[in-house]
């Protein structure tokens, strides 16, 4: 905004055009669809890679639910296919691999590529008015590195002792050869390292692109909230994924080269290592990771609530400030994962204070959503339904975090299904349903066609109610004391009464999974069949990708680099209605009748 005062608009636009010239689109099949450097193609590649693994991760979840509902009984259909040696029955060793890989796949190989890989790549250049990423080739390498990590995961299933089984957190010494021998676990740890490298490449690209390639007039306070979410996520990724990388690297050395960074200290395995060091490294990454996975969804929700309530987002600056505060605090709360490891009481209490503090900016974000919706003219299209569902589910997840951030209650609830229910409300519901919100919302822009609304709404209700029941069932079981990760929980007398609850939860989970097939059908039918043409701006919204580019956008995104006049949430402005007859005005749209110098929302800042 400072530049606008000194350099004229045409000069700014000319400079932007000169620094980002239009390149001819690639013509060969390989350059166009496979080794593409087009951010939009890479986004779709991430989408496919993520959706396939989402299905794998979901299937593994169904196996866990089967085991808790019908322990010892052969799994129908899948059992014969995957567990032939045991006649379809899940054994303890297979079970620990199933829950380990469910967690790892969902977090690193399914939700991350969809939420960050797809939306980050697709949206960042389009929403800030750039022709591509700052480093298009690095972007391509990021995807192919990611694909290698997925192949490593697949390979791990076919090793002698099977895939990893030390839990998604791969705590040492269980994750070393002491606890989990075999090539499978090694390949899984290697896959975490490689996917970390991919994320780091992407993060550097996102951070740089948002800083350097914003179109003239796109000041920080005019960025859509989605951009804030993705940008802050990228910063967290750039800072903390390397910490995970170092933990994975040391663990690999322990596994394959006989070092003892994490192995030793036990009387059975003597030496000088420290298993708790692994947990510190893991959670220094792992807690920011929670925000890495939720910040993009927060951003998407903020924009979608404004767009579909036909109202400006409430207290935009407050939400941006809160998201920045969460980003800063995210690394200072990680110790609440380790309250029962025997850490110094003073340290534990410090982490508890920070954990309670981080609830304040989180509340600002959520309360602003409610205030945005309040008094709106709500359009209940599928993306809005999913956004509302995400808010409610994430709300439950956020509020139940209070129990676990508090040491007294954590001493009882730690490592029970209460924790599992809580983080599924935030990560699975918040991030996965948040990603679904984005997918329904940007699908017309990505593919140029409309998804079927009726199928979308059916998918919403099955998903929302299914997730609600499953995770409430888990939290209740945890409140009643059931530990997580038990192959046969009913070995414990005090858990036997929970069999009925677990059975009901499992049935809800099976219905939830079956309901996802509605989405698969809707998605495939529209992508590969004939869908209704979307048109450039089917939702009548304000951001650059809708107002300044066709659906789907061409290789170079914008024929001319746009000049941005205002923020992303100009809805329901009476002055706009008077001049244009619409309840919205795009970020780049010059109003007939000239600038409104008295109205900050409608003036371009140069008047």
């Amino acid at each position: 905004m400072e530049e606008g005062l000194t350099v004229s608009v045409p000069a700014q636009l000319a400079a932007a055009e000169a620094s980002q010239p239009i390149h001819p689109p690639p013509t060969s099949f390989w350059r166009k669809y496979v080794f593409s450097i087009d951010h939009k193609v890479i986004a779709v590649q991430f989408l496919w890679a993520g959706l396939v693994f989402l299905l794998v991760g979901g299937t593994l979840a169904m196996l866990i639910r089967w085991q808790w509902a019908f322990p010892g009984r052969p799994v129908p259909v899948l059992g014969g296919l995957l567990l032939g040696k045991s006649g379809g029955v899940i054994g303890p060793a297979a079970y620990q691999q199933i829950f380990t890989m469910h967690g790892l796949i969902m977090i690193f190989f399914a939700v991350t590529p969809v939420l960050i890989g797809t939306f980050g790549n697709f949206l960042i250049p389009l929403q800030i008015g750039a022709r591509d990423m700052a480093f298009p080739k690095l972007n391509m390498y990021s995807f192919w590195t990611f694909l290698i990590s997925q192949l490593l995961v697949i390979a791990s299933f076919f090793t002698d002792l099977g895939t990893g089984g030390a839990g998604w957190t791969t705590y040492a010494p269980l994750s070393t050869n002491v606890g989990t021998p075999g090539t499978g676990q090694t390949l899984v740890v290697l896959a975490i390292f490689v996917t970390g490298a991919s994320s780091t490449m992407g993060a550097i690209n996102y951070v740089t692109t948002v800083i350097r390639l914003r179109a003239p007039g796109m000041t920080w306070m005019r960025l859509p909230l989605t951009m804030w979410g993705l940008w802050l996520t990228a910063i967290l990724n750039a800072l903390f994924i390397p910490v995970l990388g170092s933990a994975a690297m040391l663990l690999l050395l322990d596994r394959s080269f006989g070092t003892q960074f994490f192995v030793a200290g036990a009387s059975a395995v003597r030496g000088g290592g420290d298993p708790i060091l692994y947990q510190h490294l893991f959670w220094i990454f792992g807690h920011p990771e929670v925000y890495i996975m939720i910040l993009p969804a927060w951003g998407i929700l903020g924009d979608v609530f404004s767009f579909f309530s036909r109202k400006p987002h409430h207290w935009y600056r407050g939400s941006v400030g809160a998201m920045i505060a969460v980003t800063v605090l995210s690394a200072l709360v990680y110790g609440h994962h380790m309250f029962v490891t025997g850490m110094s009481p003073l340290l534990g209490e410090g982490f508890m204070v920070f954990t309670l503090l981080i609830s304040i900016p989180s509340m600002i974000v959520v309360v602003n959503w409610v205030m945005t919706i309040l008094g709106g003219r709500i359009r209940f299209h599928t993306p809005m339904l999913f956004a509302i569902g995400t808010m409610i589910l994430f709300g439950i997840g956020g509020l139940t975090g209070l129990f676990l951030g508090d040491i007294s209650m954590d001493l009882y609830l730690h490592d029970t299904l209460f924790v599992v229910g809580h983080f599924h409300f935030t990560m699975a519901a918040g991030s996965f349903v948040g990603a679904m919100t984005g997918l329904y919302f940007w699908f017309p822009k990505i593919f140029g066609k409309r998804l079927d609304e009726r199928l979308g709404k059916i998918h919403f209700w099955v998903t929302f109610l299914g997730l609600l029941l499953v995770f409430l069932g888990q939290m209740t079981a945890g409140y009643e004391g059931q530990q997580r990760r038990l192959f046969d929980p009913y070995q414990y007398t005090f858990i036997q009464r929970l069999h009925g609850l677990n059975l009901a939860t499992s049935i809800a989970a099976f219905l939830l999974f079956a309901g996802q097939m509605v989405f698969v059908w809707n998605f495939f039918r529209t992508v590969f069949g004939k869908g209704k043409a979307a048109g450039p701006n089917p939702w009548e919204v304000t951001t650059l990708e809708w107002t300044d580019a066709p659906s789907p956008p061409p290789f170079h995104n914008f024929d001319r680099i746009p000049y941005v006049l205002r923020g992303p949430h100009e809805f329901g402005n009476p002055e706009v209605l008077k001049r244009t007859g619409r309840d919205w005005v795009g970020q780049t749209e010059a109003l007939p009748g000239g600038d409104m110098a008295g109205d900050p929302a409608l003036s371009s800042g140069k008047a």
């Binding site: 303890p92 060793a93 620990q96 030390a166 705590y171 269980l174 002491v178 606890g179 030793a264 200290g265 036990a266 009387s267 059975a268 395995v269 290592g273 298993p275 708790i276 109202k311 987002h313 409430h314 207290w315 407050g318 029962v340 490891t341 025997g342 009481p345 209490e349 309670l356 609830s359 309360v367 409610v370 919706i373 309040l374 008094g375 003219r377 709500i378 509302i388 409610i392 439950i396 209070l402 508090d406 007294s408 209650m409 001493l411 009882y412 609830l413 490592d415 029970t416 009643e480 004391g481 530990q483 038990l486 192959f487 007398t493 005090f494 036997q496 809805f571 329901g572 009476p574 309840d583």
Partner: protein, 271 residues
């Protein structure tokens, strides 16, 4: 000698099994029955938090439902947020932060310093019981000191998956592991503590009701994690003393100075 010891241990285990009834199953819905002196502090906090978030959730949901039901022909309120609405947001959050977060912080600090993590205070009380627990795949081995309170003596009592404590006195457990990380979990006492190789961790509780309760492992520790179950028996003081005396006499008879694996006890951690 070793065979004799094993035989004695086997016979004793059989006798113990016959004597100890299985823990009663939990009935009805809700948190497991509380058998501890301090557990109700945790329960109260859980139920306070539950009530608080239910109220917060209900208010937010009411605002949403009101908006959903609003006549869609009317224009949307036009505001980016003004002093009044931002003030309402900040005010509501301040009330929650002070009222809920503040309550949690104060009550938890009191809990930790006075009870849950107050190991010195527990040990200072007359009659406090000290036990060393060694967690390993997939069992809990417990060690009781000799009559003079020292660990690592010929009459240390050692049990497997069977911890017995007297009712009405504080119990302080020191916890270690010899392979991977485990977590000692007493659902009826609302406490939990990781057993970490290379560290000596602590946990304290006080039983108020005699009976049998379950010991669970809460940290994934390998394929048989689910089997790492033990029984905690809370006995009236005289029965406890009688049991310990029998066990000590037995331990002295079965002591083998050359059996290095049996001597895993440690100097009691004080700090």
């Amino acid at each position: 000698m070793r065979r004799l010891r094993a035989l004695a241990a086997g016979a004793l285990a059989l006798a113990a099994r016959a004597a100890a009834a299985d823990p009663l199953p939990e009935t009805g819905f809700g948190i497991p029955r509380d058998a501890s002196l301090d557990g109700h502090h945790v329960d109260d906090l859980i139920h306070f938090t539950l009530l608080a978030i239910a109220v917060i959730f209900a208010v937010a949901l009411a605002m949403l439902i009101w908006s959903f039901a609003r006549d869609r022909a009317r224009p949307a309120w036009y505001t980016h947020g003004n002093a009044r609405t931002v003030g309402a947001v900040v005010g509501a959050i301040a009330v929650i932060a002070v009222g809920v977060d503040g309550t949690l912080l104060v009550r938890t600090l009191l809990d930790l310093h006075e009870r849950l993590w107050n190991f010195q205070g527990a040990e200072a009380q007359p009659g406090a019981i000290r036990i060393e627990v060694n967690a390993h795949q997939w069992a809990w081995t417990a060690r009781y000191p000799s009559a003079d309170g020292k660990f690592g003596t010929p009459d240390d009592v050692v049990t497997l998956d069977d911890i017995r404590v007297p009712v009405g006195v504080p119990v302080v457990v020191q916890l270690a592991s010899t392979d991977v990380i485990h977590s000692l979990y007493l659902p009826n006492f609302r406490v939990k503590q990781d057993a970490v190789p290379g560290m000596i961790n602590r946990l304290t509780f006080q039983a108020v009701k005699p009976g049998e309760y379950e010991i669970g492992c809460a940290q994934h520790c390998g394929p048989n994690h689910y089997k790492m179950r033990g029984v905690l028996t809370v006995l009236p003081p005289d029965e406890y003393r009688a049991w310990l005396d029998t066990m000590r006499a037995d331990a002295r008879r079965g002591y083998d100075p050359d059996d290095a694996d049996a001597h895993w006890g440690w100097e009691w951690r004080r700090d």
